[in-house]
Subunit: 190 residues, 2 copies
């Protein structure tokens, strides 16, 4: 999505440790009309896919998922992140490793919210090593539902998580894929 | 908002400890068309108020705030919750006490995202004792901006936080105010 690449170039900042700050429109500050543009692009990508529901993960994923839900007329479910394995109620859960904090956390979704027969579009803001997406895919599989695709706003292509999922046969459509980045330069996948 | 009261009566569950579960449409599962109805009601309430920006807090507040932002054509900023006081960068912050977890946490917003002169509409999903709203109001004041009003989807009127803010002179418009609740019955403020 060219408009997103332009927005990343004009408003994004690359920090040490392969961190891309896009706080001005995607994290903490949400550019609502731009979120809707992303929602339209996601809708275009999955036209005819008969998506029944969107699945995302708190917190920043919620904004992109709701914007796509508005455009596509679909409901959104978000997984919660829990520090401990102490989860009550009937939930689907998956363990996710966070490289940033070097810790495991549990993501959970009440089992009522994803049913066998659902065609789920997974949406998140960032895709790096893909561990959060793998956890969400795991939850969809546990429910006996189908993953129609995974879409992230920004994929850090150089971290390999997206390509690993593509090799496993999942449809992964990121709105912008960064091939290389440094504080001086950001290069997108062609 | 009658439609929200109906939705709470038909889909909500009251648990021990004054907990109202509305997971099927407001928490974890998001009923997107209903979120937009709430957004329209918020837009109607603040018509003519010249809101410049919406402020909310992660995670569940984001969905309601984005829906209102879509209807009102305004951008959203969300405060992050941090367990520690270890926050980097130039941020506005406020300490909030959580009764649920009996702990203090710090909420933060990068100082670039709220400016003196902004007229801020604060939005959250729940209003109980009002501590989170007080923290958000504190942040708006630190920025030299104005609080145009506070709107929560569901106010637990019997916990008093909303009325305390009204006594202080803030405009607090909740879409549904629960006066009394038990596992058998939910009564709304007239």
């Amino acid at each position: 999505m060219k408009a997103l690449e332009q927005k990343i170039l004009s408003e994004g900042t690359v920090l040490k440790g392969d961190i891309l700050k896009v706080g001005s429109f995607l994290n903490q500050q949400l550019d609502v009309s731009f979120l809707l543009e992303m929602g339209k692009e996601i809708n275009r990508l999955y036209e005819g896919s008969e998506i029944t529901k969107i699945l995302t993960i708190e917190a920043s994923g919620i904004a992109v998922a709701v914007a796509a839900g508005v455009v596509m007329g679909k409901n959104v479910v978000f997984a919660k992140k829990n520090k401990t394995s102490n989860v009550s109620g009937k939930v689907l859960s998956a363990k996710v490793h966070s490289y940033t904090h070097d810790t495991d956390y549990l993501i959970t979704v009440p089992e009522d919210y994803i049913k066998s027969g659902d065609k789920i579009l997974i949406i998140d803001d960032f895709l790096a090593n893909g561990k959060a997406l793998c956890g969400l895919i795991d939850i969809v599989n546990q429910a006996g539902a189908t993953v129609a695709g995974c879409t992230c706003a920004i994929e850090k292509g150089f971290q390999g998580g997206g390509d690993e999922l593509r090799r496993k046969g999942y449809r992964v459509e990121s709105l912008a894929v960064i091939e290389k980045m440094s504080p001086e330069n950001i290069e997108f996948r062609k």
